[in-house]
């Protein structure tokens, strides 16, 4: 196996005075889909937020292609090729669909028309609504726009925070199909989910996070049939 594109080493994050992440370590190999699953408050979001630079970790290291990027600001993280699709989509409601995509490419100075075409090919429904305000889209369309917006920065690693939250099962399946397609294009995916079933089916590698610690790990398919995971997260 080649060197991981993202390596998290003993990461600790405090959130609102409590220890949200208590020293976790995991690797994200290049070109794979890695998922962190776990209940609310397990520290999943805090992990992604500290990788993206929104919060400064209390301790530990984040390595990207072997380089230490711990505590860098979000602008630097994005420009290096790591992007985050935030929880709850966070579409700019009064920017049009097209403007939302252009904001996603904010740091790029080169031509973005090709990328925009690609995003519109991935999500034909966004093309139809190009001039509509982002806030007028349905939940599923907003999630597509959030993914498209993230792709506009031409990321090497795309992190996704609960992309299936609040969406209808059919739309969830669509989103996961897109995740796989984006991954086939060579974008490494770090996905966190409460919908463990979908996430593990899609992921090459899975980690189970419980109250700020990693308690289990393994290939997605293996965790899917693991008795403890089944009981706690799959409800079967």
């Amino acid at each position: 196996m080649s060197e991981p594109i993202l390596s998290i080493q003993n990461l600790q994050v405090n959130y609102g005075g409590i220890e949200a992440v208590k020293g976790i370590s995991f690797d994200v190999p290049e070109g794979e889909i890695v998922t962190l699953i776990g209940a609310n408050g397990a520290g999943k979001s805090s992990t992604l937020r500290s990788i993206s630079g929104l919060v400064k970790p209390k301790g530990g290291k984040i390595l990207y292609k072997g380089e230490d990027i711990t505590g860098k600001n979000p602008t630097e993280i994005v420009s290096r090729g790591i992007t985050l699709v935030p929880e709850g989509r966070r579409i700019f409601a009064d920017l049009t669909v097209k403007e939302n995509l252009r904001v996603g490419a904010y740091l790029r100075k080169d031509d973005i028309t090709e990328d925009m075409e690609w995003v519109f090919d991935l999500f034909p429904r966004l093309r139809e609504r190009e001039w509509q305000a982002g806030g007028t889209l349905s939940g599923g369309e907003q999630q597509m726009l959030a993914v498209g917006r993230a792709l506009m920065s031409r990321p090497k690693v795309m992190m996704m925070d609960e992309p299936s939250l609040g969406l209808a099962p059919l739309v969830v399946r669509e989103i996961f199909r897109i995740i796989e397609e984006v991954n086939k294009r060579g974008v490494t995916i770090l996905l966190i989910e409460q919908n463990a079933n979908m996430a593990l089916k899609t992921a090459d590698m899975g980690y189970v996070l419980e109250t700020g610690r990693i308690t289990m790990s393994g290939p997605g398919k293996e965790l899917l049939v693991n008795e403890d995971v089944k009981k706690a997260y799959l409800g079967t």
Partner: protein, 295 residues
């Protein structure tokens, strides 16, 4: 009819002119509010300081260099105020920032009191603006005609900037969601500084026009136009640039019509009654932000 027009034309002209000056100040309030959700109470005093800088600059410099100096210095003052008094409070409750703004307001007034010794400072004549011109049956200063034209040109330029440029897009993004804007790689602090640059630039231009009309500057000169511009911004829907401009023109014209009717003492009162009525009847103003959020 024509007698009525010739009697009232000066008031109408004055109203449009003052309205334009309020508009230039009001944009500073409305833009800062749009981005930071802060009512920048110091804005009117920055406007007053712009007036004083002109007074002191012309004492030793030619008039047109002074004009440039006023604009540059006012913009710098605005950016410094933001960095020193507001930025450290970025994650503090909004009320703390507002109290800081009130503090800056009084600080500027008291500094002005120290420098001027409390005496009214005579505002220099800007030859082009002070020229007397004839409009139909009325005579007036050139500034009366220049103000609305200049205001509209600047406002259209600003609206185009916000709508069609990358910086403008970043401003609209930041005004809705700091954190997500950061995730897009937008440098929040640069966008906020840009907002203050624009607001103070317009206030500086406004001060050149306003004080040419009023001839003198005192430490509290910024308070009344500042308050009225603030009312205009609320009236138009705070956060909206076109709203602030329309609000400012309406207030300027109404005030002067009231003066024309012979009720000069009530012209200020009218503005503040309007504020109360707006807050009671339509708190979001004419163009108030509509909530398009969908969760």
């Amino acid at each position: 009819m024509s007698a009525w027009i010739s009697a009232n034309l000066p008031y109408l002209l004055a109203g449009i002119s003052v309205g334009g000056q309020y508009a230039l100040i009001a944009i500073g309030y409305t833009m800062v509010y749009g981005i930071l959700r802060l009512i920048n109470f110091a804005h009117g005093d920055v406007f007053m300081v712009a007036g004083l800088i002109m007074v002191y600059a012309t004492a030793s410099l030619p008039i047109y260099i002074s004009v440039i100096l006023v604009v540059v210095a006012t913009v710098l003052l605005g950016v410094v105020i933001e960095k020193v008094a507001y930025k450290p409070l970025r994650s503090a409750p909004r009320m703390s920032v507002m109290i800081s703004a009130i503090g800056v307001s009084y600080l500027l007034q008291n500094c002005a009191l120290y420098f001027t010794g409390g005496l009214p400072q005579v505002y220099p004549n800007i030859p082009f603006l002070s020229k007397v011109v004839q409009v139909g049956p009325a005579t007036t200063k050139m500034v009366t005609i220049v103000t609305p034209i200049l205001t509209l040109v600047l406002v259209f330029a600003l609206v185009a900037l916000i709508k069609y440029t990358k910086v403008g897009m970043a401003m609209r993004a930041v005004s809705r969601d700091f954190e997500t804007s950061e995730l897009m790689g937008i440098k929040i602090n640069n966008v906020i500084s840009m907002t203050f640059v624009i607001g103070c630039f317009l206030a500086a231009v406004g001060s050149l026009l306003y004080f040419t009309n009023y001839n003198s500057v005192i430490p509290t000169s910024g308070a009344m136009p500042g308050l009225k511009a603030f009312v205009a911004a609320v009236f138009g829907g705070i956060g909206s640039v076109p709203g602030a401009v329309i609000g400012a023109f309406i207030i300027g014209i109404c005030e002067n019509i009231i003066k024309g009717l012979g009720w000069t003492v009530f012209s200020d009162a009218f503005t503040f009654v309007l504020l109360i009525v707006i807050l009671l009847v339509k708190p979001t103003g004419i163009f108030g932000e509509k909530a398009t959020d969908k969760v």
